[in-house]
């Protein structure tokens, strides 16, 4: 039996040299048959397995992961949690996701360091302030929090910003106080541990090599590097490799795979409280609990599976940082890394049944999948368990491209690198 985490447990273990801690999850060999196989042991796959077990009572579930759990984008993002979308089809979903975040630590008995420090989007023209107001009003109509901040308020609250010499002046901002950050690895680990405790088998170092179907096209199982596993339902949650895995089942998707870089400076004493983003540089920044400034900007812009970015975007990101936070000039970049993003053609995600009976798709998270983790697992578990979309994720269906109901928050059309 695994121990419940608590301060008392920590004290107890301290007294015996921490020798009593058990593995956070088991390391089982795959069974021959599961009710559901989730492909992908990242945040979304693990959350899906957890909610399948907890909300739908389906516990005979395997999560198969080709590497180590949490090794994909859940462990390499800039940790931002928010629900500040404009289009109802998106905001409804992210609103639910944020509600799940609040209280998730207690539910999972794992400290995710969820920190609702506020997400502030800066607007550079009066027109942009109005657009932010449109979005903020949509958020409020959904019951979520949103405020419009004046430049004076922004200057007072965010001393790192230099508003006096900005190329693009700051005319206002959209503050979303319930937004913030969370410890990214912890989310994967917390869901893994909680799912494992409900009986879910998490099978690492197990790559799916084929998706098997019967003559009628129904899913019958998956072939893996650890052998064949029979199942009637396969859920794909393999952001970054969605196109490849879907292709095993003959699915072609409205997805292009792109590269996004992220950056962190050396640790500093607290200097920035909020998550701050600004559109002119497509830039976002926050300070981690360890003290590093964590930031990023646009996609590198070309299709890539490398997770290795290049200098033009490194330079652009540094420029964007210097444009409004010129104090950052002497601070030093400690590390930059890349993640592989499955970018959809409208910039919004897909949680959907597919034309293949028994195959369910969760993907296309673009560069915003982290904050969606609980909501994604919640909706996807429902979609798999009931074979139909969850109402809050209903607009995220795959057929929206055919019906002309794209969810294009950026308004840039079928050009994934611009979303």
């Amino acid at each position: 039996m695994m121990s419940q985490y608590s301060v008392f447990q920590l004290l107890r273990e301290t007294l015996r040299g921490h020798t009593g801690w058990r593995p956070a999850w088991r390391d089982p060999a795959p069974k021959q048959r599961y009710d559901v196989v989730i492909v992908g042991g990242g945040g979304h796959g693990l959350a899906t397995a957890y909610y399948l077990a907890k909300e739908h009572g389906i516990t005979n579930v395997a999560v198969v992961e080709k590497g180590y759990l949490g090794g994909g984008n859940v462990g390499r993002n800039t940790t931002i949690v928010r629900a500040n979308y404009m289009l109802p089809g998106n905001q409804r979903f992210y609103s639910k996701s944020l509600a799940l975040w609040e209280g998730l630590e207690q539910e999972l008995n794992f400290n995710l360091m969820m920190s609702q420090r506020g997400v502030l989007n800066l607007a550079h023209t009066d027109g942009q302030v109005d657009m932010f107001a449109r979005r903020a009003n949509a958020m409020r109509l959904h019951g979520d929090d949103a405020e419009i901040w004046s430049p004076e308020k922004i200057a007072a609250e965010v001393p790192m910003l230099d508003l006096d010499s900005a190329r693009f002046p700051v005319r206002g901002g959209l503050m979303h106080k319930r937004g913030g950050t969370a410890r990214h690895d912890g989310v994967a680990w917390g869901y893994a541990r909680a799912a494992d405790r409900l009986g879910v088998d998490i099978i690492q170092n197990c790559e799916v090599t084929a998706i098997e179907r019967d003559p009628q096209g129904r899913i019958t199982g998956v072939d893996t590097t650890k052998g064949r596993i029979k199942t009637g339902k396969v859920g794909l949650a393999v952001a970054g490799h969605t196109s490849q895995v879907a292709q095993m089942a003959g699915l072609r998707l409205p997805i292009e795979t792109h590269l996004l870089q992220a950056f962190v400076t050396e640790g500093l004493k607290p200097i920035l409280d909020q998550v701050v983003t600004f559109a002119a540089g497509h830039f976002y920044i926050s300070q981690s609990d360890k003290g590093g400034l964590v930031f990023g900007s646009s996609l590198d812009g070309y299709n890539s599976y490398t997770a290795r970015g290049n200098l033009p975007m490194v330079e652009h990101t540094a420029e964007a940082a210097m444009s409004l936070m010129p104090c950052i000039g002497r601070l030093r970049l400690l590390r930059h890394w890349g993640g592989v993003m499955d970018m959809t053609m409208d910039g919004s995600p897909i949680i959907s049944t597919t034309h293949v009976p028994g195959l369910y798709l969760n993907g296309g998270w673009c560069y915003g999948g982290f904050k969606a983790t609980p909501g994604s697992g919640w909706c996807f578990a429902h979609t798999i368990a009931r074979d139909q979309p969850h109402p809050i994720g209903a607009d995220l269906r795959l057929d929206r491209f055919m019906t002309g109901r794209e969810l294009d928050e950026a308004g840039t059309g079928a050009q994934p690198n611009l979303h």
């Binding site: 490799h241 196109s243 490849q244 292709q247 072609r252 998707l253 409205p254 997805i255 292009e256 795979t257 812009g301 070309y302 299709n303 890539s304 599976y305 490398t306 290795r308 290049n310 033009p312 053609m345 491209f401 055919m402 079928a414 050009q415 994934p416 690198n417």
Partner: protein, 91 residues
Amino acid sequence: MRIPCPVCGARPSEEFTYRGDARPVRPPMDSSDQGAWVDYLFFRDDERGRIKEQWQHTGGCRAWIVVDRDTATHAVHGSELARDAAEGGQA
């Protein structure tokens, strides 16, 4: 990355603007088959490996080019003008 412009020679990638997969074939102008248009505009093979893709040398000679590049390694295997590729495709 250095993108080999067939006109200007190799230049850093930021001189170029990326469009995407060059291979989907646009349905004939007079086609009204929505499925074919949806497929052309939205759906992609998205290979991990060599693909042909369209870039424009917007920071240089403004040529639209087709680059043969590997999405798994970023290795570039060649390029040609988009108009030559278009003619080649029709032949």
